[in-house]
Amino acid sequence: MASLVSLRQHLPDIMETVFERNREADEKRIQEYQAVLTIQAWFRSVRVQAFIRHLHKSATIIQKHWRGHLGRAVYRVMITNLVYIMRHNYYNAMATKIQKMWRGFYVRKYVFDYYSRKRYLEGLIVKNEVVRREIEELREQKESESRRRKEIEAERKLQEYAAKHRYLLSTQVVPGIYNSPFKPHPDEMEFVLRKVKPHPPNMPKPKRDSRSGIIIPESPPLPQTEPLPPIGQKPQMFAIIQGPFRDPSEVQKQRYKPLQPTLRVATSYTSTEEARAAMKAKEWIMRVNDNIFVPFSRRDRDYEPLLHTTSKYGHLPYGSRYFRETNEGGNISTTERFQPVVSPIPVFDKLNDTYSKGTETVP
């Protein structure tokens, strides 16, 4: 109880204190609250920061590994590329070497082949020689030709001169100018003059065409005509016969020509029989064996009359009527139409022998 008493005793104090304290508490509440808040915030932030730091650390680790992974991949690609490029360069260098060697070889072998070039040049020298020789030959040939032509021309001129001046030839009495008596032997020209023929007398100038200058050949000679009979002559005993007549000699020949009988007249009438007999006689002379040769297959056979030729109604006019259809009514005349004329055609025998008409000279 005492305590209660004491308490009671102290109650105002206590109350005051309580009040004091409450006031104090109220006064400081906000501050404390703020402080608490700050502390809490701090604490919480520390926690969160620690967590975040943890997270960052973890993320860094993850990133580190991931980046390492990616980097290694990139690295691998780079390495491959690098190796590829290195190899490529190396191959190129080697290819260049091969190409170099090959090109060198190829050019030496085919393009700038020393030996083929040498051969070519040697061949060229030979070819040049050949061409030179050929051309030289051709030139010589031409030169000799022209020389010959000139010689011929000179010779012709000399001959012409000589022919023109043939009167300078010496005679027995008077020596010519080329045959001076004061010289031991005559000039060469003298002999030329001796050989040459004198010019023929000048012919009339050939007629030339006035435009082209071509010589017109002379027209062929006109036919020679007989001189006309003198005019005013007395008429002959006979009247002058006019007209174209045959040459008298021809007429004479015609008149006195020997008899030329036709073949028919000249032949004997029995000439066939005579000829046959003559042939038989000749054959008989030449024959060795008189027995006649008979073919062994031949037999004598009885005549067998045909069926339709032995009919009792008489035989058919076979072979005489039925081969050709005849229409007698179509003919103009009923008499025989063909007259056998055995008239000779003497013209054929007398061809080229006479000018007369055939019928007039029938013998």
Binding site: R117, Y120, L121, L124, I125, K127, N128, E129, V130, V131, R132, E134, I135, E136, L138, R139, K142, E143, S146
Partner: protein, 509 residues
């Protein structure tokens, strides 16, 4: 009685006219009479006679006019100014063939002198009339017309083109095929005149089928015809590769070479020109000519001819050698190819031929050391040098010989041939000579020895060169090949140095 008297007057007048024109025509054929005739007014008197009623007077008047116009350009101009040409052209179509011949002669004589006169002939419409004359039956008329056409076409490309436009080419090609030699000659010359101006004109002539007919006449025995034929072929082939190939395809090749030995000088010259014109185009064409043995015959030709006739042969060798080193070698191995060129260079008095020879030699020697040696051995270098430093040499010759020297020297390693040049070459040539020595000497001990004994080294020491120039470097390179004492020994002034040393020497008492 009175009729007869009247007629007699006319007869006398006609006779007088005839004698007048005949005498004038005869007088006009001598050059010394022409001026007198001109002063006497022959031109104005002849003009009315062109319209005379008597054909023979007309013809002779035309002939006399032609002779006058033929004489010189002034007279030809006088003919043009007197308005005679339209009359002639007008009557060219109508008159008989004698008149046509004479009128063509006048046209030819006028057109011959200058392009202007030829143009005035064309302006009169003469071309059509002349082309119609080409279709005439008479070869003499054709000849005269072809001649006139050729003279018109000769001057320039325009006139030639107008001749072509008038349709003359096919008819000229027909004229070539005629049997008359003179007609062939003149129409070939006309074709040559037409196609010399431009590739197009040449192509026109080729299209008319001229080549085949021309190629047929290559071996014709007539020299004058051959001249014209070869001239025409070369004028055709000079323009382009195609045309040259067409000429070659006409199979002229081995046959043409025989004409290089023809008796006629101009035939030879024209053949050489033809070969040159073909060879200049491509290496293949040159090769073809070389393979046909053309180089040997051209070399012979160069050796046998003199003066201007030589020129095409020399140029042909140059062209062939310029194409490739193989062809240049072919020229060298064709016996005396280089020698003949060297002889040409030495003995021809005219500069342009020397220049051509120098150029050809340069083309031969510029390929390889082998080529250069072949050229150098023929003792060409001193001659080229002489041509270069000669005072009266033309500019062309100087440039050509300088370039040739340079080309040859840059390839030449044949030192004995280079030695003489050390002594008398001007600095710009000396540079190349010393350069060649500096290339060879470091690798050739025997040559070094020879170089010293022949006095080359001494000469080199005497050359004054600016430090830093190419020549200086070359000299240094040469000096480096020799021991120092020898170089010093040959240096100018070394003897003075020695003497100085003698003076300074303290004699041992």
């Amino acid at each position: 009685m009175s009729t007869r008297q009247v007629l007699q007057v006319f007869e006398q007048y006609q006779k007088a006219r005839t004698t007048f024109v005949q005498t004038v025509a005869e007088l006009a054929s001598r050059s010394q009479n022409i001026e007198i005739l001109q002063n006497a007014g022959a031109m104005s008197l002849l003009r009315p006679l062109l319209l005379d009623i008597v054909p023979s007077v007309q013809q002779t008047a035309a002939l006399a006019l032609g002779r006058l116009a033929n004489y010189n350009e002034d007279l030809a101009e006088a003919v043009v100014k007197a308005d005679i040409l339209p009359q002639l052209v007008y009557s060219l179509a109508e008159q008989n063939r004698f008149y046509k011949k004479a009128a063509s002669f006048v046209l030819r004589a006028v057109a011959k002198h200058s392009p202007g006169l030829a143009q005035s002939v064309v302006d009169c419409g003469a071309l059509d009339a002349l082309v119609i004359c080409l279709e005439e039956f008479d070869p003499g008329v054709k000849e005269a017309a072809a001649w006139a056409l050729g003279y018109i076409a000769r001057h320039n490309a325009e006139l030639a083109q107008s001749v072509v436009d008038a349709g003359a080419v096919p008819l000229l090609v027909l004229c070539i095929q005629e049997p008359e030699l003179s007609l062939k000659r003149i129409s070939a010359s006309a074709l040559s005149d037409i196609c010399k101006h431009s590739p197009e004109l040449a192509q026109t002539v080729v299209d008319a089928g001229a080549i085949a007919h021309l190629a047929q006449m290559v071996l014709n025995p007539d020299a004058k015809l051959k001249r014209q034929v070869f001239s025409a072929l070369s004028q055709i082939s000079k323009h382009s590769v195609d045309l040259a190939e067409m000429v070659v395809e006409a199979e002229i090749f081995p046959a043409v070479l025989t004409c290089l030995k023809d008796q006629d000088e101009y035939v030879r010259k024209n053949v050489a020109t033809l070969i040159r014109e073909i060879a200049k185009h491509t290496p293949e064409l040159s090769q073809l000519i070389v393979n046909a043995g053309g180089v040997a015959s051209v070399v012979d030709y160069v050796g046998e001819s003199k003066g201007n006739v030589r020129l095409p042969g020399v140029m042909m060798l140059g062209y062939v050698a310029a194409h490739s080193e193989n062809l240049a070698m072919a020229v060298i191995v064709s016996k005396q190819g280089v020698t003949q060129l060297a002889i040409t260079l030495a003995e021809e008095p005219e500069d342009h031929i020397q220049a051509a020879a120098a150029w050809a030699l340069g083309q031969i020697g510029r390929h390889t050391p082998e080529h250069a040696k072949a050229v150098a051995v023929a003792n060409v270098l001193p001659r080229l040098l002489k041509c270069y430093i000669r005072a009266d040499a033309s500019e062309d010759l100087q440039t050509k010989s300088k370039r040739a020297l340079k080309n040859i020297l840059q390839k030449c390693v044949h030192l004995p041939a280079l030695e003489p040049l050390l002594h008398d070459a001007p600095p710009n040539i000396l540079k190349h000579v010393v350069g060649q020595f500096s290339k060879v000497l470091p690798h050739d001990p025997a040559a070094r020895r020879l170089f010293v004994t022949s006095g080359g080294l001494k000469k080199v020491q005497e050359i004054k060169s600016e430090p830093g120039s190419a020549l200086h470097e070359y000299i240094n390179t040469i000096n480096n090949c020799f021991p120092e004492e020898i170089v010093k020994y040959y240096s100018p002034g070394y003897s003075d140095q020695l003497l100085e040393r003698v003076e300074q020497y303290q004699a041992i008492a």
